[in-house]
């Protein structure tokens, strides 16, 4: 895959639009899906994905063929999504308020289960889809890259420009944060142990 992509890039650099179209074909669904789940809106995802590929095209001459393409294009997508959401004020939690070292004070309080809320979700997937939009952006990014886009820790580190150890810590906290959102929505029960659930 990497070799095929490297050849396509080489040809696209020489001005072959068809080669670039093949590159777009190979990555459009992944990038669109990533942006859709980052923004929660199909139209915004479409606009942003178009912008991602335009930036890729404009910057192909700066792309070093010794690098891997995938982390590069995801980094462009991630940066555009973050800029977009900041401008739209769609970020619910400001990253700056969420230091890596705080004591999970951002965690949502557990609530008693609400059967009517539980019924809103047909299954776990739709519950997760809905909950992702409420997870802070820095956590949403790593969750998507790791579990939806199946990236290695090293590649996520390249995309987010963070050390691998920070990526691992962030992922750990991100999973817990997602769980807490689902607790808040009544899909899961609170983390206070030993309770009789369902009563």
């Amino acid at each position: 895959m990497d070799l095929v992509v490297a050849r396509l890039i080489q040809r696209a650099k020489l001005g072959e639009v068809n080669a670039f179209a093949e590159l777009v074909h190979a990555y459009k669904d992944k990038i669109y899906a990533f942006l859709y789940r980052m923004t929660g809106d199909r139209e915004d995802a479409n606009d942003l994905a178009q912008e991602v590929f335009i930036r890729v095209y404009s910057n192909l001459h700066h792309f070093d063929n010794n690098m891997r393409f995938s982390p590069w294009i995801y980094r462009i997508a991630q940066n555009l999504a973050i800029d977009f959401l900041r401008k739209q004020r769609k970020i619910i939690y400001l990253d700056e308020q969420l230091g890596e070292d705080n004591d999970m004070s951002w965690q949502l309080e557990s609530q008693a289960p609400l059967p009517d809320k539980v019924a809103e979700f047909k299954d776990l997937q739709s519950a997760i889809e809905a909950a992702l939009n409420e997870v802070p952006l820095m956590y949403r990014t790593v969750l998507l890259l790791r579990f939806v886009h199946d990236m290695s820790y090293e590649d996520i580190a390249k995309v987010t420009e963070l050390p691998v150890t920070t990526v691992k810590t962030r992922l750990h906290r991100a999973r817990e944060n997602l769980r807490q959102v689902l607790v808040k929505k009544g899909y899961y029960y609170g983390s206070q142990g030993g309770t009789n659930v369902g009563q």
């Binding site: 650099k13 020489l14 001005g15 639009v17 670039f20 179209a21 777009v24 074909h25 459009k28 669904d29 990038i31 669109y32 899906a33 859709y36 789940r37 199909r42 479409n46 994905a49 178009q50 590929f53 335009i54 095209y57 404009s58 001459h61 539980v118 776990l124 997937q125 519950a127 997760i128 889809e129 969750l143 998507l144 579990f147 939806v148 199946d150 999973r175 817990e176 997602l178 769980r179 689902l182 899909y187 899961y188 029960y189 983390s191 206070q192 142990g193 030993g194 309770t195 009789n196 659930v197 369902g198 009563q199």
Partner: protein, 182 residues
């Protein structure tokens, strides 16, 4: 996970199970394909590269290849070139003949300037009004030929050969680049 009524779970275990469920759930999220016509819409918006950009990129690639070839080929080239007969003259209008390894200044010809001869035998039948430099060469003045000036023998060392080879290579590269740019 929707727990069953009356079920009691240890908090830590439950968290672990729930998080594993979340990981599985995230991995199993359905694909979201890009809208139909995405690529066509994108291609219509692309800022096509200017000819200058494409040309620059091609030149950069060609330059890198040329540099590699020069690096690899130059030692051999210099050695070959330095053994080849050649002449240089400061008089651009001088009619000097180079036949095999013999250089002839024909009868009636006047060279107004210096003459350098490399790896050849110089036969002067005309007139040279300048200095003659001989590098790995010898000189024969045939009547009515004459040299009005000095005759200097250049050292026939490997350094001199190297210098000559490099000069020749520089001239070749210059003429090639001029040809390519034209």
């Amino acid at each position: 996970m929707v727990p069953k009524e009356g079920q009691t779970l240890d908090s830590d275990l439950r968290c672990k199970v729930e998080i594993e469920q979340l990981e599985d759930g995230l991995s199993a999220l359905p694909d979201v394909p890009a809208p139909a016509g995405f690529t066509a819409a994108l291609l219509s918006r692309l800022p096509l590269p200017s000819r200058r950009q494409v040309r620059l990129y091609k030149w950069r690639t060609a330059g890198a290849i040329a540099a590699m070839l020069l690096l690899l080929g130059s030692p051999l080239y210099v050695l070959t070139e330095s053994a080849r007969p050649a002449i240089e003259s400061t008089d651009p209008n001088a009619q000097i003949e180079l036949k095999g390894s013999t250089v002839i200044v024909p009868a009636g010809e006047v060279v107004h300037g210096d003459l350098r001869v490399y790896n050849a035998r110089l036969r002067v039948q005309g007139r040279i009004e300048g200095t003659v430099y001989l590098a790995a060469s010898d000189l024969k003045i045939e009547p009515p030929g004459e040299v009005v000036g000095q005759v200097r023998v250049l050292p026939h060392s490997w350094l001199a050969r190297l210098r000559f080879g490099l000069v020749q290579m520089g001239l070749e590269v210059r003429s090639y680049v001029r040809g390519a740019l034209r």
